[in-house]
């Protein structure tokens, strides 16, 4: 069967792998509807245990308005990644395409990475006894698929691609929509960029209160954002 006759889900394998100079993600907050498809898809895909999130969607009541904003947050795959520098066992490495990857076999749970990350993107997987975080679904991108969260976002709020290729969809969109990093003052040069991001979100996202004021906020506690 020729490739043109293949169904989209039949085009899987190393030969369909796309190469990226700098793998990145664009998150258009005005498209996001807070549906949690990304986070639940991520957990199913990566067997993320209850209590851990690699992708999390925050509901934030707007300070001067009665509406709620929705913000997906993941590992920012920083060019200057503090976690990578902090890891004493060298379990965290940068792949050729710039993505930050935790080698689970080398992780000895020093937890320095959790402390170092300004975005609260790393958590401890108690069952596996390793630190874990998003790796842009390496196993999917290796066979030509997009990360699970991107594929399963129903409103195309997440775009994955090559930030160093000016002709890529992500680069064009980032330019057109004036995408910005989350917490630029952390000076980590993230490869995840946001559209319609507002400064108030950054402090509020770490205050812990989601929609139930009495519930534990696990991503807040576990990802060490209370520091």
């Amino acid at each position: 069967m020729s490739e043109t006759e293949l169904m989209p889900w039949e085009k899987i394998g190393p030969k369909f792998k796309k190469s990226y100079k700098r793998a990145g993600m664009l998150i258009e907050l005005d498209r996001c509807i807070g549906c949690h498809s990304c986070s639940v898809s991520c957990k199913t895909e990566n067997e993320v245990p209850l209590g851990n999130f690699r992708m999390r969607v925050r509901y934030l009541e707007q300070p001067d308005n009665k509406q709620i904003s929705f913000t997906p947050l993941i590992c920012m795959h920083c060019v200057d990644a503090p976690c990578l520098k902090a890891c004493p066992s060298k379990a965290i490495r940068k792949q050729d395409d710039g993505r930050i990857y935790i080698d689970e076999s080398r992780c000895d749970l020093e937890k320095e990475c959790v402390e170092a990350c300004p975005y609260g993107a790393i958590s401890i997987n108690v069952e596996k006894e390793v630190a874990e975080k998003c790796d842009f679904c390496q196993h999917r991108t290796d066979v030509g698929l997009e990360p699970a969260c991107v594929d399963n976002c129903p409103t195309d709020a997440l775009v994955f691609g090559d930030l160093d290729d000016p002709e890529s969809k992500i680069s064009k969109l980032a330019a057109k929509r004036k995408a910005k990093p989350w917490k630029p003052e952390a000076k980590t040069n993230p490869s995840v960029l946001y559209v319609k991001h507002e400064k108030w979100m950054e402090s509020k996202v770490n205050t812990g209160v989601q929609l139930d004021p009495k519930d534990q906020d696990i991503t807040y506690e576990q990802n060490n954002l209370g520091k």
Partner: protein, 884 residues
Amino acid sequence: MSDLTRRHLLKLGSTLLAGAFTPLNVSAKTSEINWGKLGRLDYTKAKATPTICFACTNHCGVIGWEQDGIVRKIEGNPLDPNSQGNICSKAQGMISYTYYPERILYPLRRVGKRGEGKWKRITWDEAYDELAAKLRPLRENGTPEEFVFHYGRDKTKGVTKHFTNAFGTPHRLNRRSICSSNRRAPLMSFYGRDFEWETQDLENTKYCVNFGGNPYEAYQGGLFMVHRLQRARVEKGAKLVTFEVRPSNTASKSDEFHTLMPGTDGAVAGAMIHTILKENLQDEKFWNRWSNYSLEDLRKQVKDYTPEWAEQKSGVKASDIKRIAIEFAKAAPACCTMSNRGSAKHYNGMQADRLIRTLDVLVGNVGKPGGYCLSSLRGWSGHYGQEGLPKLKLPEPKASSPKPWGLGEGFNETAFKKLPKEIQDRVNNFPDKWRKKYFGELATPSEYPLSWHWYSMRVGQLVYPYIQEGRQKVSVYMSFTLGASFGYPEANVVREVLQDEKLIPFHVAIDIGYGEQSALADMILPEATSLERWDYHSTNNYGLIPYTGVRQPLVKPQGESKTMPQMFRELAHKIGGGMEKHFTYKDDESFYKDWYKNLPMEWEEFKRRGIWQDATREKDYELYERPLTEAELKDASVPKGEGELVQKGGKVIGIVKDGKPVRGFPTPNRKINVFDPIFEEAAKAVGLPLTDGNASSAPVFHDVPEHVNLADDHYIFSTFKWNVHTQGRSGHWKYNAEIIHTNPVFMHPDTGKALGVKEGDSVELSVFRPHGHTYRAKEEGIMGSFQNHVRFLKGMHPKVVMCSHHVGHFEHGIVGKSDTKESLPKAAKTPSLVDQDLKGGVWWSKKNGGIGGGVHINDALPINPAPLIGGQNWYDNVCKIEKV
């Protein structure tokens, strides 16, 4: 785990982690499916199969990925023209429930008292033999109606009806009144079909006015709508205006969000009509061509509905209402309304939706690009809008429908004579058209004739009180994927009835899990899940070109679970007595293959794609203007006069417009019935005073009776659905429950101030009985109450408090109950299903120091059917609130 590691982990110091240290007592058998420990999927080895999602009412085309015999991931099927490859978080829930360690996989028979939780495993033969022995005599003795089948979610698209028809019982009960009958009635009245409801052309709309619809979270078709709406908004600048009582995700993503008083959507719509007429912005040509009501009469009808009047009712500023009405009309025809439970689940909801529907007719956007369109309804059998599509039908030899009840030749007199005299008298006074459709009080409640005038919507929430009152004798009660004892209003009454062995001598529950309903059964039959079975699928397409898809099994049914077609086939053969003649297939695949045999595509290719559509077919715009084809006109009588009806074989098939026969709308007069005498006729038949707004033949705004002069210390208590949940079905889907497992009381900060409560404080909510002409109206005192803690949200209407209704399960195992231990009866326990993740319980369990699983609120919500139609008025409840 080394001490060093443990110390490091404990350094994190959160209570949630403490729970996770429970020893992992896992016996690693090779046959086990240890969910959570399978490793990442290898996509080069895994098999992809297209199927249809079953996690909510949307039914999106999906691809299931299976490796080593286990379904590991759900993705969207890009070939589905409705979802266009999009899915939501609930899709992964299918995996959660298929491999839930507390899933029921064997037939069970109660051994202790009913509800005591003691069961033994039985074989399918034992189950069938006992069931057939109970059912057979009912058929033989001429009392088949004593077999009552009641479903919560039935997407077999005819299989269960085929069984109840072959058996001879009219009692195939549903939950439409719980869901949508107040909203479907206006569609049936206006357009003659509810078309699975309207299919707005959201991709191309410029302006959408939303009355309490929440497609961004939970709405039949919501996912199909929302990706189109978001594209239209973000890429093309379309405007979405929402009237809501809380900051729902839809309200939060809307370009304008106006909080309004519950039950006043009709007032706002009425004032919009008033404004459009005053500004002369109506599409007079369209109105006069297609509506059955004169503009002059409409003007009179809405004369007093000024924006200022509507502001007083709704709290929405008159200037906003005026501006929105003008913007809406000026965007025509690329504009549309949207409404759902927010407008409809009220005492006045049926009329509110009639006013909202009138807006679209008035600006002439019906069937236009970007407008309010109607698309092919499900079941391809040549209905209106399905012209030229291959006919698809259930392939078994058809069983005739049961005989209607009543006196005289051709009626089931025996069953009729058992009814209380008062009911017999009422039915005997019904016009013939209704007497011929009357099938007793459970199927066709005589006080709610509109619930079965168009088709059988029924009044599900009255089934249990009616059984209690003795309106129908029940011998065998079969519930199918039904959570009435958890999710119906006054769920305590449901449980009372199900506990009573005199009222329900035998209850067999068909389900995949041990829920609140199956816990009260005498026998449980395990059903195969949506990842293990076939189903026929079609629904309205927001891309406006009909399509069909197939749900197909990705894996074999776990344990001894069976599909419904298989179960009913085998049971019918056990019952015998002629029933077996209607069940001729040997296996499911050949049955479904024949169902689709008219599709112009090979079966294997259809299975490979999962979807069939003729994408070259014209979009469903302006179906009503389409000329009748030569084939349709063969043997038809075509009159000459403008507006006269075209008839064929005693049926009206079109209308003459501009001297030519066109289809028109599928109503008896082929027009849009803005005015409909059926409401007055129904009111007269049941003695509803004509002063009640529900009795009005013209669309009208009328107040919710118990909201009039609402006391300062009384509030409206309303409920809502979360995006990660689907009714009461999803409480045990672990990843979804992890995100939402509680239901705090949402209120405006000012409401908190008035009540003297702070965020996080606990309050007691006490609910009163409703007023109007409804069930147990005006009974004094509190009908139910519960306690929960408060969350402030600025987007709440200050007179409204809200809780979601999904949580607070008292069955459904370790996740459903937010527990630390499994609670599935031992006899049902399945050693093959293990979930590493659930060892030690869920982190939010109270026993692990968490908040627990929320509060069950449905016992405190009164049964409150709207007059004539019977739709549950979920959002009318008046309550008082006290700080605990």
